[in-house]
Symmetry: none
Subunit: 408 residues, 2 copies
């Protein structure tokens, strides 16, 4: 049997005044989600625990099967892995923004959100900066970048250089736990920051940016120190070969830690313009080759962060199309599909909250129930009840008979 | 107040094509289960966790109150205890089958499933084989037996001699963890196997079996090494005297570890032909004497393993009769009854799966709900919601006011 997990990021919501006090899932018309709901079994899912607002990283760690309280070690490593860097198991990773500093104070944390020339800046930093340890800097989406420090005696217990606000100087990085490794890591990062700034200030790229009316990218804001969460892969735990279709670096990073092969798919962007047709094609192709496919769709969360419930409805329609293609394209008897979000992101709030998310399982031998609408007010009446993120993979593996019983 | 826990083994199921895509509980007509459901409070129960297919041993450890991930140490000790052997707390137990070997290969793992003369074979092995440690072999149901090695310096971390298939030689037993105790245990078992084989081959019983056209019982297949799971008894934890009515050795073994007195009841067999009248009589009698009675009914699981949904319906009718006798025979105000299964065993699959099982509590001060059918699609709508195996005993003790509050 094949297994498909579809995550529509930030899918859950709460009453929106713009939608007659309904949620986007309740207000919109999503005939394929409703068909899957009617044929499947429905419920509500707390990514971590009731009332815990999960990040996309911790939510995906939980949904892919392990306890994030035990395993989560910060976002930087996952992000680096997801951008295509190949950190070693003991390396430390960081998230960076190119920012603009004027008179020693941060003027803009995103350098005008314009990535012009950043690849050349990164290239020159990689070529000309030397530190006590090898490092690798890489451009990520927008004005973001990822940094990996390659050494076995470093620590992720260091503060952010990014003050997360403007019109203040950047922070000096310091250790958080007094350990030698953390002190050394902080020293190396402060040295990296000083040396990188020398490359950036007065670099021809920044001359060109100024001439084009773009804010200069003359400082690297460092945050999100992380190290590898070390859990069993799907192959080790279930003897199952998994593949992931996602555009978002962080999600790809989490999936890689679980042993997923990341499939390259044309036209998927992690943005509103993502090619859902291409994503659906790739998902169905992947199901021919892999036991377990995880398809991630980011744009529902983006619309939520943008506070735009009508846009969120448009984006859920893309997920609805994906689901229609899946229902037509797979052998229902021999496939288990789980559809849910990774957390609730209310459009009215523009950030993640701790409310549970609707979830449904479809195909195989699932016990169907009387729910026929996939939304926040119908799914709690479903026969699944209220489950947790960490339950999803064991349930899918059990439905697909990929597990041995515990005991005799 | 009195407490009665009735477990109908393997009770849960999924859609059966032979039953118009209903489950046995949904398809059959069980007026007494439905009456108890209507008067009681209903829900769904995950023996261990959602998606985890539980063995009968781990499920019963959980349902009787402790976490099997913490306490489960293999099946052999429990099985030995259940057959009536009296192992010490550090002894190691094993499950055995009498099998038939021809030309050094296993021809039949059950010696034709005929127990003729096995008691005499066991007697002669007990009398004539000597090992470095005292041991005790005992016939269990059918062609099964239990073995206890009586010593404090042994380990359950040894492999099975039983290859779990036919037309191959039996396996040599080896240690699984490199410990001295495990190596010693493996050596003793290999020596036991060789010496027992000498007794069996050419034994008059096997001559008689051949003359009667029965396969000879000329080899002992050893598996399921286990040691005692050490948890608090009901007496220690709740100051409650418990009794168990069960025919299955494994269940009796688990119950004994929890301090249950095992009641001997005529006519209960653990098979389809079990005398349910006798089991009902014994249950009601036991409730006069003991605070807590656990009545186990095996045949629903047997029908599921045999892949026979109509037989399962017949067997559920026996459980329905048991429930009718209970409802008539107890003082409802002063009795708490819990009725459920230990796991789901879909007839279509013939083995345990991880779906939750319907559960109901009846009597005393339970809050009733609007469910009036006890089955997989009705109970999820009940007011209990979705609970876990380890919740059952605390809930019963609480309903019966046998616990102290935690805190002040």
């Amino acid at each position: 049997m094949k297994m498909l997990l579809i995550i529509s990021d930030g899918l859950g919501d709460v009453s929106c005044p713009d939608l007659k006090n309904k949620t986007p899932l309740e207000f919109g018309s999503f005939s394929n989600l409703d068909k899957m709901s009617k044929e499947g079994i429905n419920g509500m899912m707390d990514p971590i625990r009731p009332g815990i607002a999960a990040g996309s990283d911790t939510a995906h760690i939980a949904i892919l099967g392990e306890d994030p309280y035990q395993y989560y070690n910060g976002r930087g490593y996952l992000e680096g892995l997801g951008t295509g860097l190949r950190p070693g198991p003991e390396d430390i990773g960081f998230r960076l923004n190119f920012g603009t500093i004027t008179d020693d104070k941060i003027e803009d944390r995103r350098a005008g959100r314009d990535p012009y020339g950043l690849d050349r800046l990164v290239q020159d930093i990689n070529d000309s900066v030397t530190l006590d340890v090898p490092f690798m800097l890489k451009v990520a989406t927008g004005t973001r970048a990822a940094l990996i420090l390659n050494d076995d005696n470093l620590s992720n217990m260091v503060s952010d250089g990014d003050p997360h606000t403007v019109f203040v100087p950047p922070h000096k990085i310091h250790d958080l736990d007094g350990s030698e490794e953390a002190k050394r890591t902080a020293d190396i990062l402060n040295e990296f920051s000083a040396k990188a700034t020398k490359v950036l200030v007065g670099h021809p790229v920044n001359q060109e940016r100024r001439e084009k009316g773009i804010m200069p990218a003359n400082f690297l804001l460092i945050r999100g120190a992380g190290k590898k969460p070390k859990f069993q892969t799907f192959q080790e735990k279930y003897n199952v070969a998994p593949a992931c279709i996602a555009a978002t670096a962080l999600i790809k990073g989490v999936a890689k830690c679980y042993g997923f092969e990341i499939l390259e798919v044309d036209g998927i962007t992690g943005e509103y313009d993502t090619d859902i047709e291409s994503k659906a094609d790739a998902t169905l192709r992947a199901l021919d080759k892999y036991d377990f496919v995880f398809t991630h769709f980011k744009a529902t969360d983006t619309a939520s962060h943008d506070g735009d419930p009508k846009k969120k409805i448009n984006m859920i329609s893309k997920a609805d199309y994906l689901v229609s293609r899946v229902m037509k394209g797979v052998d229902k008897e021999d496939t288990i599909v789980a559809f849910t979000g990774d957390h609730t992101t209310p459009c009215m709030i523009g950030d993640h909250t701790g409310e549970p998310v609707p979830i449904m399982f479809w195909g195989g031998r699932v016990r169907s129930d009387s729910v026929s609408h996939f939304d926040e007010r119908s799914c709690p009446k479903g026969n699944l009840g209220r489950i947790r993120g960490v339950d999803i993979i064991p349930m899918m593996m059990d439905y697909a008979q990929k597990t041995k019983k515990f005991g005799a």
